[in-house]
């Protein structure tokens, strides 16, 4: 089933066009990887999906992005509700300067999702369990989140993102600041999370894309060169550029 449908998306930073005519369908409950060389626009595209580009003054987005058949670029779209539905995990772990508990309860608090302390405790515990962090931190929930290791911090950020039960999770190179072991943990986690969430991951590592994703889109110079099942893109791409990038001839 198609969860997100992007139609003819153009993105401009001031006068400079960063994305050209992107049309891409994203399947529900699957992992879609966006790959491509640095500066190709894959992160920019990712940020279109929860309208994070609004934060950048000079950035403007044109075209339609339909999530559950609703155009999020429409004026009637409530960004607060949209971002409740679409979670995001960033390249560098960015836990808030608060305790572990407050980090995870942040989203549920601002969206008023818990009626009692007990309910909130449950949300926090479940989110941390789903993020495979609970066992490591259950005794120190009230210590600062910034005291964790890099990999733990990133899993904390994932717990924070899933605490509001988003339908979609956007991941912007979530493992690029982590060591191989932490990376393996996150990848395992992504596999687990796709049962309940639709995941879109931007990654520099082609091996990672091959490992975690079912679908892959290849971006180059602001254009979507090719997209399809990960198997096909990696084994038998249609486009010469894709083939060159996959085989490491440029990028």
């Amino acid at each position: 089933m198609i969860k997100i449908k992007a139609k003819d998306v153009d993105v401009f930073y001031g006068k400079k066009q960063a994305l050209f005519n992107i049309s891409l369908d994203i399947e529900e409950n699957q992992v879609t990887a966006l790959i491509g060389p640095s500066g190709c626009g894959k992160s920019t595209f990712l940020r279109c999906l929860n309208r994070m580009n609004d934060v950048i003054d000079i950035c403007s987005v044109k075209g339609e992005i339909l999530i559950n058949d609703f155009n999020i670029n429409d004026k009637s779209c409530d960004v607060v509700r949209l971002r409740e539905k679409i979670g995001m995990v960033f390249q560098k772990p960015n836990p808030f300067p608060k305790t572990l508990y407050e980090n995870v309860s942040y989203g549920p608090t601002i969206h008023g999702m818990a009626q009692s302390k007990q309910e909130m405790d449950e949300i926090v515990e479940n989110s941390l369990k789903k993020a495979a962090l609970w066992e490591e931190v259950k005794d120190r929930l009230h210590e600062p989140g910034t005291g964790l290791s890099g990999g733990q911090q990133q899993r904390l950020c994932i717990a924070r993102a899933i605490s509001v039960r988003p339908e979609v999770i956007l991941m912007d190179e979530p493992c690029s600041a982590l060591d191989p072991i932490a990376t393996a943990q996150i990848e395992e986690l992504i596999d687990e999370l796709k049962k309940e969430h639709t995941i879109i991951i931007v990654t520099h590592s082609m091996a990672q894309a091959a490992r975690v994703s079912q679908n892959t889109g290849f971006f180059h110079l602001g254009q979507l060169i090719e997209h399809g099942s990960t198997d096909k893109i990696f084994k038998n791409p249609d486009n010469k550029k894709t083939q060159d990038y996959i085989t490491g001839r440029f990028g």
Partner: protein, 461 residues
């Protein structure tokens, strides 16, 4: 004369730099590898020129006057003069030789003045000779010593280290010196006025001390109930409190606006405009408070049936608060801007609005800096003098009514030290005691502030 000598030594320094570098180039041209860049050889020689000059100059400055004095007075020391008379004679002959003497010129003074002049000129010329020969000797020695494998980089770096260390030492020693001068005078003060009376007394009326005839012996009992510092401490904190009530909300909110809400263009103009407030001299704020705000408040109060003094704590504190706004707004703007964008992104991506993000994420992250800026504002408020002197009156009333006039520590120091003062008088020493307490208060404030900030940092970084 000293100026010419000094210029000459500086020129010598440049010359030795030039020769050092030249020698390095010469060594280099023989295809030998140097241990440092050529200019280090130059600096090395220049340092060898500067150090002896500095040592000799300072030795001269320390010992020359003493030796000259000793030589002049040695002639008269066996003729039955008292020490004080000899000192006076020396000072008089010094003044005469500079042409600043106004009294009666006796042959004795004239003779010693002549001697003073001749000794001075001998001292001067021997200084020139010694300095120049020392420099030339040391530079020549160093010049001979440098070769392709001599170490020049390390001594130069060590010298720089020493210079920088001396600079910071000077700042620290000055502080220590100030503290010590305060301490001794304060101790003298408390010998006359009991500490208890000062700290807990509720009457501050130093004018009483003006009436003392300085030829009379000091009678501590006449000062009881004169130097009770409670009213002025209360006044200080009260006015500072009023000022912070104005400055913290306005400063903080404008800081948040500038950092988070204002567009680049607005920020570009608004920030310097707010900072102009910080550039206005406090004396201008002072007469603004005294001539505009004070009378305005008085009229306003009278029309509402309140009794308002023309010089009120409210006028002084309010204007002081306005003065402090730019410190708080500008500093908190800087702190908030330096909160990493990734935290904002994280919060926005959770669906938080701007105000939620500021309240829950940015503000806690920026808090140490904001607390720091507020405490800086508080110590400005406590140390501010001019506004209080002009707008809040000088009578030390013990009151918590903002419409009455009160006085502060700083204003009282001004009152005490304006006009004639006699050292060793309790009235003058009271100023030192006040200065000391002011220093202690701000010191405690700073220590607390550092602790708070540090604790917060440990928790969240």
């Amino acid at each position: 004369m000293n100026l010419i000598l000094f210029t000459f030594i500086v020129l010598l320094g440049f010359t030795s730099y030039y020769f050092g570098r030249k020698k390095a180039y010469t060594i280099q041209s023989t295809k030998k590898r140097l241990t440092a860049l050529p200019q280090f050889y130059g600096y090395y020689l220049a340092i060898w020129c500067a150090i002896p000059a500095f040592i000799i100059f300072s030795l001269w400055a320390i010992f020359e006057p003493t030796i000259v004095k000793l030589l002049i007075l040695s002639d008269y020391s066996n003729q039955g003069y008292l020490d004080d008379e000899l000192n006076l004679l020396y000072e008089k002959s010094k003044a005469l030789s500079r042409g600043q003497f106004t009294g009666e010129i006796t042959p004795l003074i004239e003779a010693s003045a002549e001697k003073y002049l001749s000794l001075r000129s001998i001292a001067q010329s021997s200084k020139v000779v010694i300095v120049l020969s020392a420099i030339i000797a040391s530079v020549a020695y160093a010049y001979k010593r440098i070769s392709s494998n001599s170490r020049t980089r390390e001594p130069v770096e060590k010298f720089l280290n020493a210079v920088l260390f001396t600079a910071s030492l000077a700042a620290i020693l000055t502080t220590v010196g100030i503290v010590f001068s305060l301490i001794f005078q304060t101790i003298d003060f408390f010998k006359v006025i009991p500490l208890f009376d000062f700290v807990f007394g509720t009457h501050w009326y130093p004018a009483k001390a003006f009436v003392r005839d300085s030829s009379e012996a000091l009678d501590p009992t006449m000062y009881s109930d004169t130097f009770g510092a409670v009213p002025i401490f209360a006044g200080t904190f009260f006015i500072a409190f009023i000022a912070m009530c104005v400055a913290i909300p306005i400063g903080l909110m404008s800081g948040i606006y500038l950092a988070e809400y204002a567009s680049t263009k607005v920020r570009q103009y608004a920030k310097p405009l707010i900072e102009i407030l910080a550039g206005i001299p406090t004396v201008v704020y002072g007469f603004f408070a005294a001539l505009t705000v004070g009378p305005f408040l008085k009229e306003l109060g009278t029309s509402m049936g309140l009794e308002v003094s023309a010089e009120s704590a409210l006028a002084a504190g309010g204007v002081m608060g306005i003065m402090i706004i730019p410190f708080i707004s500008s500093l908190s703007d800087d702190v908030i801007t330096s909160v990493p964008q990734s935290l904002r992104d994280g919060s926005y991506a959770m669906g938080a609005t701007k105000s939620e993000t500021i309240k829950r994420v940015i503000f806690p992250a920026a808090l140490p800096g904001i607390v720091g800026s507020i405490l800086l504002g508080v110590s400005r408020a406590i140390g501010e003098t001019m506004i209080v002197v002009m707008a809040s009156g000088l009578a030390a009333n013990l009151t918590l009514n903002p419409l009455e006039s009160t006085s502060t520590i700083t204003a009282q120091i001004v009152v005490i030290l304006i006009g004639d003062q006699a050292f060793g008088d309790p009235k003058t020493q009271a100023a030192f005691a006040l200065g000391m307490s002011l220093f202690l208060v701000t010191l405690c404030l700073n220590i607390v502030a550092l602790r708070v900030v540090k604790k917060y940092r440990e928790k969240y970084e």
